[in-house]
């Protein structure tokens, strides 16, 4: 985060604080930013524990999405027949809203971690599948012809050309899925308990709007942290792919 972003954020918060005070907006409707920061501090251990739980669940869900999405993309890319058979089904599941499926997940997996992981995985799965497939199918014709001329086996073409060529696409899908995995985990936690989702839900029942805001702020921080870590890792380990 650069200096300009910090200054703009500070200005926005100060403006919000001033406006809320000026119009005497009650804190059960919209708490003052200063009050939210006070709650962030006073409930820090509770928030930290919820933060850790949500992070763990989101990352496990995301990891399963990466493994499953890339594997399925590899299988689909093997033949047009498989593509025609599997892709429409995958597209159909993408259109199912997670909030509608979440209660079913509780019936199947019970309360707690497994449901949250499943919810996170379902939401983050499709961008990785779609991007990986796009990457595998985008290998330039000339490069494929080059491999054909050198009599490369299909396995060599995959390992030395198609898969390395698809890496930037997989990374793009992963970046989109990072944010979605947090959304999926939060939705799962609303239903199955645990983490920031559950904390937000219980604060709602207690009319603790300041705690809701503190938990939302923590969720945003989690999203920013994962994206920033991802960008750092991408620039550090996959630099030559991104040029």
């Amino acid at each position: 985060m650069n200096r300009q972003t910090l200054m703009m954020t500070a200005l926005l918060l100060l403006g919000l604080e001033g406006t809320l005070r000026l119009f005497h907006v009650p804190d059960y409707l919209f708490p003052l930013p200063s009050q939210t920061f006070a709650t962030l501090w006073s409930s820090r251990w509770e928030l930290l524990q919820a933060f850790q739980e949500t992070t763990t669940m989101a990352l496990i869900g995301l990891a399963l999405s990466v493994v499953g999405g890339v594997f399925l993309a590899l299988i689909i890319s093997l033949s047009q027949w498989l593509r025609a058979g599997i892709l429409p089904v995958a597209l159909f599941f993408q259109t199912v809203p997670i909030i509608a499926v979440a209660p079913m997940l509780v019936i199947w997996f019970g309360f707690g971690g497994p449901t949250v992981i499943a919810s996170s995985c379902i939401v983050s799965f499709f961008p990785i599948l779609a991007s990986s497939l796009k990457g595998l199918e985008s290998t330039p014709k000339a490069m494929l012809e080059l491999f054909k001329l050198y009599r490369a086996t299909p396995m060599e073409t995959y390992l030395k050309l198609k898969i390395p060529f698809a890496i930037p696409w997989v990374l793009n899908g992963l970046r989109i899925s990072l944010g979605l995995s947090i959304v999926g985990a939060l939705v799962g936690e609303f239903i199955a308990g645990g983490g920031l989702g559950s904390l937000i839900d219980s604060a709602r029942t207690q009319q603790r709007v300041d705690l809701i805001f503190a938990a939302v702020f923590t969720s945003c921080f989690l999203g920013w942290l994962l994206t920033a870590s991802f960008d750092y890792g991408q620039n550090h380990f996959f630099r030559r792919w991104m040029k």
Partner: protein
Amino acid sequence: MVSKDSKLILSVRQGGKSFSQNEILRDIDIHLQEGDFLSILGPSGSGKSTILRLLAGLENWTSGEQVENSDLSRAFVFQDPNLLNWRTTLENATLPLELQAHHHSRSSSDLETQGLEALKMVQLESAALLYPHELSGGMKMRTSLARAFITKPKLLFMDEPFAALDEPTRETLQEQLRDLWKHQQATIVFVTHSLQEALFLSNRIILLHGKPASIHKELQISLPESRKASIRTTPAYFQALTELRECMQILSQKEKELL
């Protein structure tokens, strides 16, 4: 390079090519002898690259027949260098050897030695550990040449490889290519739309004309075997260039009449 004893290595008779209902090529006769350097010249869209792809076996003729010695090692250089971004210059150059590893076993040090030799041939050994995004256009094309020559191909197909380069780089690479051709005793089929390039490089030039395109004329180039940049200022070169230009002018006039 082509002598009386040179063997015929590839021959096409009455070759034709159509895409759907669109006839692109008609009555193509090409006979390649060992050590040939044949250039195919013609205006844009005349089917030069299609002929090259057909000769290389990347596409099939619609009519006619192609007879060739299938044991010949071959390589193809595209207009775009097509380097793999995630591999160093050295790793890009050794790619064909890696892909042939299931036919001939090679150790990694062996690969490295041969890769460095290939890069040395194109004066790029100092850039061995650089990645493609760190190379200039000319260096990328030299890497592509090193990759093509590393297998010591007997038959090399080149599709306007220097078209995107600036004039000085292009002339340097033309000289290097001519040296590599002599050194490796390869047979090269080269597609270009530059008269000067075709004249400097080739021993034979085929001129394409018409729609569908057919071979209008085949010219033997009688310039000395050893060609350096200075040849471009000799009267013999000027005379050959003028003849070639006149042929092209006649062709373009004929095409205008047809329109």
